[in-house]
Structure formats: structure tokens, C-alpha cells
């Protein structure tokens, strides 16, 4: 910071003669004693608020555990939570965390509209930023291919790609497909890539309708009527919040899935609201990166699900896993960068250590790719009523790694899909 101040002085010319005293205020090295502050950005209002809450709960669970086990390099973790809202305000909150609260790292960010703006800010402020669920993608194109400080979530379209791979396996004779998704980047990206993948497996498939209701719409009767009009063999839907529950219920009311198959790439985000009463068996349902009832669950996941249920009377969705992975990978990167000493490493060393690191997250092993994108596995499967809950679960369960379903660093998505050997 000190050198940059000096550059600023040259720019400002003579007007800055009195600034000298301020040069000392920006510490060149981080404080290395006392609690370590980690900034958290969580959505608290609006349609994505449940996702924000899950991320925050996952982070808090991690922080409690970590602190009980002695913190990071002996320093207790202190979370500084700010709200993720629109891009303008969130960029301000981000700057506040780094410049004012002097956090060691910022974790969080869900909406791509917001994180697209956060990426460059994170680079400017030279502090590690690990994103829960946000990318710096413009559509399916990466805008920051070689970031230094920004660590991004899985590409937006991975769930749709996985669903596209699994569709021909579980549904036979699909000729026409309709799509519905929210009118924002995630909804559009998922639909585009789902189509591209499905076309590879089923070259003759036709896409007969696409609907993009505004985020936050709570009445889909008209959309469902339009889908009935189009009479597709299969409906693909990328809703992931309350809207997934609503469309499922309103679809059941008119018996939509009696006449067509259904793919819900992400509705597992609100899985415990998909009650058996209105969610049929035999839909392809995606749980993103964590399936709470995974029969192969690690003891860590089992403990987490039990404690989450006890505390909130809900079963945890995937965002807890993203959040846990981010925080845990940060912790292990700090320890790795310290190389066995108790000396707190510099931020640049932590970033180096994060690249390629693999840690045990709730859902199993997860890692950071060298280009700062998450690697993990996606859980999707066919809905079933054969369980002890009042909502659906999946059986059989398909686990697909991002190594298969995410475009490699630097690749163009649609060229990459075209290059598959099927």
C-alpha cells in the first residue's frame, strides 16, 4: 500500500504536500496476533435469502468447530458478516470489509450479477476472495481467466451439463423439450448448455419452448399453461428457490408430469420443501454438490446434517458445503503457507497455497483448480418416495465430477461440448 500511495502523490501533484502523516496508517504487514477476521458476504433478503442463510450457517458451523480445535495457527476466527444485495452496494460492503475492517480474506457471494462486479474489486484490493456460489462469468464466458486474488465457484452451467448427460440415460424416446428458468444469467446459461449437451446425445431433439419468468414471480399457472400448449416430451427447469416448490405444486395441480418427463437441475437447493404430496417420483433432480442423505456420507457430513437438523429443524442444502469448503480451504492454505511455523503468512502466500489445494469438505474431497475455480462432484438422481421423510429423495444417485462436466481452464464452452466423443 505504501508504494501505491506514493504513486497517487505524483498524480495529485503539489496538492498533496500535507499527506505525509497518512502514509503510516496503512500497515504493510497484516497484524499477526489476536483473532483472525474473515469477512463474510451473505444475501439476507429476497428470493436468494435462504441460500444466503444456508451459506452463513455452514460458515458458522465451521467457525465454531475451528475455534474449538484451536483456531487457525492458534488464532481464533472472527466472522465479520455483511449483506450481499445489489452490485453497487455489495461492492461497497466488500471494500468496507477489506479497507475498514481489515479482514484477512472475504468469503461469500452468490449472485453472478454481483460477483461479476466483485471480481475486479477483489483483484484491486489484493485480498483473497473465495466465492460461495458466484462466478465472474459473462454468460458462459469467463471474464477473468487468470485472477490472482479471486477464487470462484463452479461454472454456472455445470448442473445443466450433468443433467444433459443423464437425461438420455434415464429418459428414453425424448424428441421435444421445453425449458423454464429465471430471467437472469444462471437461468439462461443453464438452458443454453443443457440444449447443447442434449443435442450431442440426441441430435434430432427439438426445443419447442423457452420461458424466462422474472426472478421472484410466485404464480406460474400461465407459464404451465404455455408449457401444456407446447406439449413437450420433457420439461427442463433450473429454479432453485421457493419458485421450484411453487412450480412443482402448480404443475402437480394440473397433472403436468403425467404427460411429460421433468428435469430439475437445481431444485435440490430447496429439497425439503419438495413434499411427496405434489412431487412425483421419476423426475431427475439435482442437489448441486451435496446430497444430505448420501448413503456414502462421511462422518463429517453425518454429524453436520444431524446438528443442522437439531438446530434449525431443516435438512441442509448444498450452499452449506460451498461455504464450508471455502472456509476450510482457506484455513488449510494458511497452515500450508506457514510451513509448520506459527508465523502468519502473507496474503500472497496464502493465495499460492490455495491453488491446487484439496481438502475434506462436507460432501467429500474438494479442491481449487490452478485457475481458481472449484472442483467438486455433483449429485443428481431420480426422485423417489421410498424414504422416511415427507419430501422426496433420490435413488439411484449419480455422482458426476466437475472433471467430466466442467469446461477445462481456458476452453470455450460450446467448442468443448462439441469436441466430446460420445
Amino acid at each position: 500500500m505504501t508504494t501505491t500511495r506514493r504513486q497517487f502523490l505524483t498524480v495529485m501533484g503539489g496538492a498533496a504536500a500535507t499527506v505525509g502523516s497518512r502514509l503510516g496508517t496503512a500497515p504493510a504487514f497484516a497484524q499477526t496476533t489476536g483473532p483472525v477476521k474473515i469477512g463474510i458476504l451473505a444475501i439476507r433478503a429476497g428470493i436468494a435469502a435462504p441460500v444466503g442463510a444456508a451459506g452463513l450457517r455452514g460458515t458458522e458451523w465451521w467457525a465454531e468447530r475451528t475455534n474449538k480445535a484451536g483456531g487457525i495457527l492458534g488464532r481464533q476466527v472472527q466472522l465479520v458478516v455483511e449483506e450481499e444485495s445489489n452490485p453497487k452496494d455489495t461492492v461497497e460492503r466488500y471494500r468496507k470489509l477489506v479497507l475498514q475492517d481489515k479482514v484477512e480474506a472475504v468469503i461469500g457471494g452468490i449472485s453472478t450479477g454481483v460477483t461479476l462486479a466483485l471480481g475486479p474489486v477483489a483483484e484491486d484490493l489484493a485480498t483473497p476472495w473465495l466465492s460461495w456460489d458466484g462466478t465472474t462469468q459473462k454468460g458462459v464466458e469467463e471474464t477473468m481467466p487468470n485472477p490472482k486474488w479471486a477464487f470462484k465457484s463452479v461454472d454456472n452451467e455445470v448442473e445443466a451439463i450433468v443433467a444433459g448427460m443423464l437425461t438420455p440415460k434415464y429418459f428414453k424416446g425424448i424428441k421435444t423439450v421445453a425449458g423454464i428458468g429465471n430471467d437472469y444469467s444462471y437461468g439462461h446459461d443453464c438452458w443454453e448448455s443443457y440444449q447443447a449437451v442434449l443435442k450431442r446425445y440426441l441430435p434430432d431433439v427439438r426445443f419447442v419452448l423457452e420461458l424466462f419468468p422474472k426472478l421472484g414471480v410466485t404464480d406460474f399457472t400461465s407459464h404451465i399453461a404455455a408449457i401444456q400448449q407446447a406439449k413437450p416430451d420433457l420439461l427442463m427447469c433450473s429454479f432453485w428457490s421457493g419458485d421450484a416448490t411453487i412450480i412443482m405444486k402448480q404443475a402437480a395441480a394440473v397433472g403436468l408430469f403425467k404427460t411429460m418427463k421433468g428435469v430439475f437441475t437445481t431444485a435440490g437447493g430447496v429439497h425439503d420443501s419438495l413434499k411427496k404430496e405434489f412431487t412425483p417420483e421419476g423426475l431427475l433432480l439435482g442437489y448441486n454438490t451435496m446430497y444430505f442423505a448420501d448413503p456414502k456420507a462421511s462422518p463429517l457430513l453425518k454429524q453436520f446434517v444431524a446438528e443442522y437438523k437439531a438446530k434449525y429443524n431443516e435438512y441442509p442444502p448444498y450452499e452449506c458445503d460451498h461455504a464450508y469448503f471455502n472456509a476450510e480451504s482457506y484455513k488449510q492454505a494458511v497452515e500450508k503457507a506457514a510451513k509448520g511455523s506459527k508465523q502468519w503468512p502473507g496474503k500472497a502466500d496464502v493465495v499460492k497455497a490455495l491453488e491446487g489445494i484439496e481438502v475434506e469438505s462436507l460432501s467429500g474431497k474438494r479442491s481449487w483448480r490452478a485457475d481458481h475455480v472449484q472442483e467438486c462432484s455433483f449429485y443428481q438422481g431420480m426422485t423417489t418416495h421410498k424414504n422416511s421423510y415427507d419430501f422426496v429423495t433420490i435413488d439411484p444417485i449419480e455422482v458426476v465430477s466437475t472433471k467430466q462436466a466442467m469446461k477445462p481452464a481456458g476452453a470455450k464452452l460450446f467448442d468443448w461440448i462439441k469436441s466430446w466423443k460420445i
Binding site: R44, A45, P87, L116
Partner: protein, 311 residues
Amino acid sequence: MKRWLGPALALVAILIVPLVAPPYQTLLMLPFMAYAVILLGLNLLFGYTGLLSFGHALFVGVGAYTGAFLTHRFGVRSLEAILLAAALLGALVAAPVGALCVRYVKIYFGMLTLAFGMVFYTFVLKFYALTGGDEGIPFARPLLLGRDLSAIPKTDYLNGPYYYYCVAVLVLATACMWRIVRSPFGLCLRTIRDNPLKAEALGISVPRYRWCAFVISAVYAALGGALLGPPTGNVDPTLAYWTHSGNLVFMTLLGGFTHFYGPVLGAFVFIYLQDFVMSLVPYWRLIFGGLLALIVIFAPTGLMGLIAPSR
């Protein structure tokens, strides 16, 4: 003499903020100055002409998107060119919109502006290919007075040259607005506000004056909108949503619409208070809603009305 003392002191304070305040507090001054410009314009319409626009975020959006388009799509990076284009486009959009809106007053005027605001919002949200939809468009770091400052870190750029550039724009905008409201034109607007029939009888063309005020206020909103872009580095449709328009009116009322500097004070207090409350509790909307209700009921002339009741 005394009339100039307050604003002069405020200006000196604004000038030394980057030298004494922590960097984050300085950064918050940037949206403050942008909003101050927007609200000076809004208050020409609200405070001086008596027309409440509930869709002014439309013009903020026009200004912000103009800057984003120019820097990102056309490679025009000069902030002077951006401001000029924003002002022109703001006026260009406001001319027909205003011509339709000023035929009505009070609630109908408010509703018509709200409807136009929502048309613009829906348009930028829906037309992905052109506007980037919810992702918006990046706003690249602009050149200031033709100087390329991309070598210095963003925070220093914003808190240094960009900061003082905003101060200059704010001072110019304030001076212009001061001239406007003190001019015969401004006097006519106030006559129209207080008694449109009398104004008509005096030979003032009421719709034309209202239209002029509308266009000027839109130009101010577009200028301010363009200034909001660079600190965020991205513009998006929420800038044009109706609740943003509501917040603009909130700020104006908070500072005091009966006073020339009221909206400026309102912007300042709103931004720093929001920053403070947001970090304190997650339920800042509740607190701000309560605050707005208190102002409306007990202090309709806003903070300025409490500080300087006589005017």
C-alpha cells in the same frame, strides 16, 4: 456573506476528506457526490416545481448505461465525453417522456413517471444481448481530462483523481442549479408550484416550464448516474428499479426539499447512515422505513428544516 459560509465550509471539508479520512470513508463520498448531483436535479422538479417523480431512477440508469456502453462497447474512455453523452441522452429520453408526463400533476405525474421507469427497467432486464440483462455491463475506468490513470491501483484512483473530479462536477452542478433557481425561470417554477392558475394568468406557459424543469432534472440524474458507475465498475438494472426511485425521494426528503442544499445533506446522511446501520443489524430496512415515517410525520422539511428552519 453568511449565506455562503455553510456551503463554503462544507466544500472545504469535502476537499480535505481524502487527506484525513480512512480510505473506506473516503470511498463512500463518491456515491454521496453522485447522488448529490442527482438529487439537486430531482429537487428542481420536486421542491421547486412541485412535481414528485417516482421514476427518476430511469434517468440514473440512462446515465450509468451510457457510460458503460461507451467505455465497454465503444472504447470511449474520456469521462468528459461520457458525461456529455449522458447529459445529452438524458435530455433526449426526457424530452418525450417529460412532454407526456408534465400534462399531469400530483399522483398522476408520479404514476406516469413510475410506469416509464418500469418500462426502462424491464427493457434492460429482458434484452440480454444488448444490455447484458441482470449481469449488466462493465464500466471501465475512465480517463480524466484525457489522462490515462490505469497504472495506479483502483482505490487510489477513486480516492485521488476521481474523487476530485467528482468534487469539481458537484461544484459546477451546484453552481448551475443555484443560478437556475435564482433566475426568472426558477421564480416562474416556484410560482407554478404555489399557484398554477396565477402563473397561467401571468402569461407563464405552465406545461413548457414544467417540461424544462423535467428535462433539466433528467440531465442531472443522468450525470449523477454516470458518476455512480466507475466506483462499482459495473452497471445493472437495479439502478433503474422503482425502489431506487423511492430511495432518491427518501434522500431528498431526509435532507429537506424546501432548502436548496437539503438534498445534498440528505444524500450525505443517507449514505453514511445506511453504511453504519447495515453493519450493525441485518434489518436496516426496518430502521430506515421507521426513520422515513418519522420524517414524513414530524419533520416534513427534513434535516435542513431542523437546522435552519427559516429560509
